[in-house]
């Protein structure tokens, strides 16, 4: 078996939304290079429970990088050091025995902390509810092949649609802006004829909702693209702005 490592974790602990938080440092003596970062937190939690301490709460579910539940800032980078990887698929082989890892929740006014590393990302759902859809009732669709779509357009739409809604873009943005998340959905639907009839209403409503939720404005740092587990390009933000201008001018 691979050699165990001793890893120190400096973790943000906060009992509830309105309580004062603080960092606690814990030592995990039996970390293993094959384990994932979340499994390291599991091991820490088992240790804490046995010692009568409340475990560290963190969101997680599929643990294969697609559900978007997990997300913490690891040593200053959303989802940690491995590119295009959600922290559930970050593995401990990237660390050395004796390393200290700083773990913090997403920090943004629009993502209030619920407990420890868990934040409330429902603002994202409200942005989608404002217009991130095609208005089509079940049963009223025409045959799927009646609407040919050029392969490159469809592929580009898929690039944008790959967003997992984890919130890393907001967490990493120096302005806590939700532009990449919002733009990814707008761009996905803007690439497709299905999304066309509602495009003006969509971009306006979603952008207004984004502002309403208290996210910051974009300053084109492109930090969001660098931390996005799906590598969604900031060209989506450019597309969103073009869509917005078209809506403004009509």
């Amino acid at each position: 078996m691979a050699e165990n490592m001793n890893i120190k974790l400096k973790v943000w602990r906060q009992a509830g939304p309105h309580t004062q938080g603080r960092f606690e440092t814990y030592s995990v003596p039996d970390a293993n290079p094959h384990m994932s970062f979340l499994e390291l937190l599991d091991v820490l939690n088992e240790q804490l429970i046995k010692s009568g301490t409340d475990p560290v709460e963190f969101d997680h579910d599929c643990r294969e990088g697609i559900c978007g539940s997990c997300g913490v800032v690891v040593d200053g980078v959303a989802h940690g050091p491995q590119r295009r990887t959600a922290c559930c698929q970050l593995h401990m082989r990237h660390y050395q025995d004796g390393d200290t890892i700083v773990v913090e929740p997403w920090r943004a006014e629009a993502f209030p902390i619920i407990k420890d590393l868990v934040v409330d990302r429902s603002a994202f759902d409200r942005i989608i509810a404002a217009g991130g859809y095609v208005s089509i009732n079940a049963g009223s669709a025409q045959d799927a092949n009646n609407l040919p779509i050029a392969k490159d357009k469809a592929d580009l739409a898929m690039d944008y649609a790959a967003c997992i809604g984890c919130g890393a873009c907001v967490a990493a943005c120096p302005n806590a802006s939700a532009s990449l998340f919002t733009a990814a959905k707008i761009s996905h639907l803007a690439m497709l004829p299905q999304g066309s009839p509602e495009r003006k209403k969509r971009v306006t409503a979603m952008v207004d909702q984004m502002a309403e939720e208290g996210f910051g404005d974009c300053s084109n740092h492109a930090e969001c693209e660098a931390v996005c587990p799906k590598g969604i390009s900031i060209s989506s933000i450019a597309t969103m702005r073009r869509e917005y201008m078209k809506a403004m001018l009509s």
Partner: protein
């Protein structure tokens, strides 16, 4: 179809900042090339400035436009900065950039600082040149010269006098370096804000932004240094 106040929305603010920013880039570029006239002699320079003042009403229109551009650009910049502080009231204990493709840099993170210094500089600059000796409301026979029999303001003299001072020269140079830093992120950012970007073009536009920024800065810095070191 558009929101109640589209120019106040997150995207509207960026559009305004981008449009005014690009407009100001064009302005500083023209300003910079105008400055270079001094390299060919005082007369050429004074002729150029006289041409500008002789535009009369049109000049007022241009000046009013410039003031508006500056104000919109500055106010939006400040609002975006305030908004960002509100959007993340509690910062990170540890924060670092994830690296490429992030474009985060000292330039991008200091836009508010370089911008505000440039704004203060702008005021000082306008007071010391436009409204300086021989300028509007500040008639001074010492700063009058004649070109082809016509009396014109001898701005060249004022420029040479000011840049004889080490404080003014190096202060000016420093601020122009900040302008380069501002433009390094600003030009690319404005283009992205206006939706002009494609992923394949990003590196190219970012480079062009940097080169144009450096050119403008170099053009501005060349004159005071040349005067200070008695090269012209």
């Amino acid at each position: 179809m558009s929101s109640k106040n589209p120019l106040r929305s997150p995207i509207g603010k960026k559009l305004v900042t981008g449009v005014t920013g690009l407009g100001l880039v064009v302005f500083v570029f023209i300003h910079m090339t105008g400055n270079l006239a001094l390299f060919t002699g005082n007369e050429a320079y004074n002729q150029y400035t006289h041409f500008l003042t002789s535009l009369g009403g049109l000049l007022y229109v241009i000046e009013a436009g410039l003031v508006a551009f500056f104000l919109f650009h500055i106010v939006n910049g400040i609002q975006i900065w305030l908004g960002k502080r509100k959007a993340r009231p509690v910062g990170y204990d540890t924060y670092k950039s994830a690296g490429s493709p992030s474009q985060q840099s000292a330039s991008s993170r200091s836009m508010i600082i370089t911008g505000l210094i440039l704004a203060v500089f702008l005021v000082v600059h306008v007071i010391s040149f436009k409204f300086g000796p021989g300028g509007p409301g500040n008639a001074d026979p010492a700063y009058v010269t004649t070109i082809g029999g016509e009396e014109v303001r001898d701005l060249a003299k004022l420029v040479r006098e000011n840049f004889a001072s080490p404080f003014y020269t190096f202060g000016y140079t420093f601020v122009m370096l900040l302008l380069v830093v501002h433009l390094r992120h600003g030009i690319w950012s404005a283009l992205q804000s206006l939706g002009a970007m494609r992923p394949s073009l990003t590196p190219l536009v970012y480079t062009i932004g940097a080169v144009v920024g450096v050119l403008i800065g170099a053009g501005f810095i060349a004159l005071p240094l040349a005067i200070y070191f008695n090269l012209i």
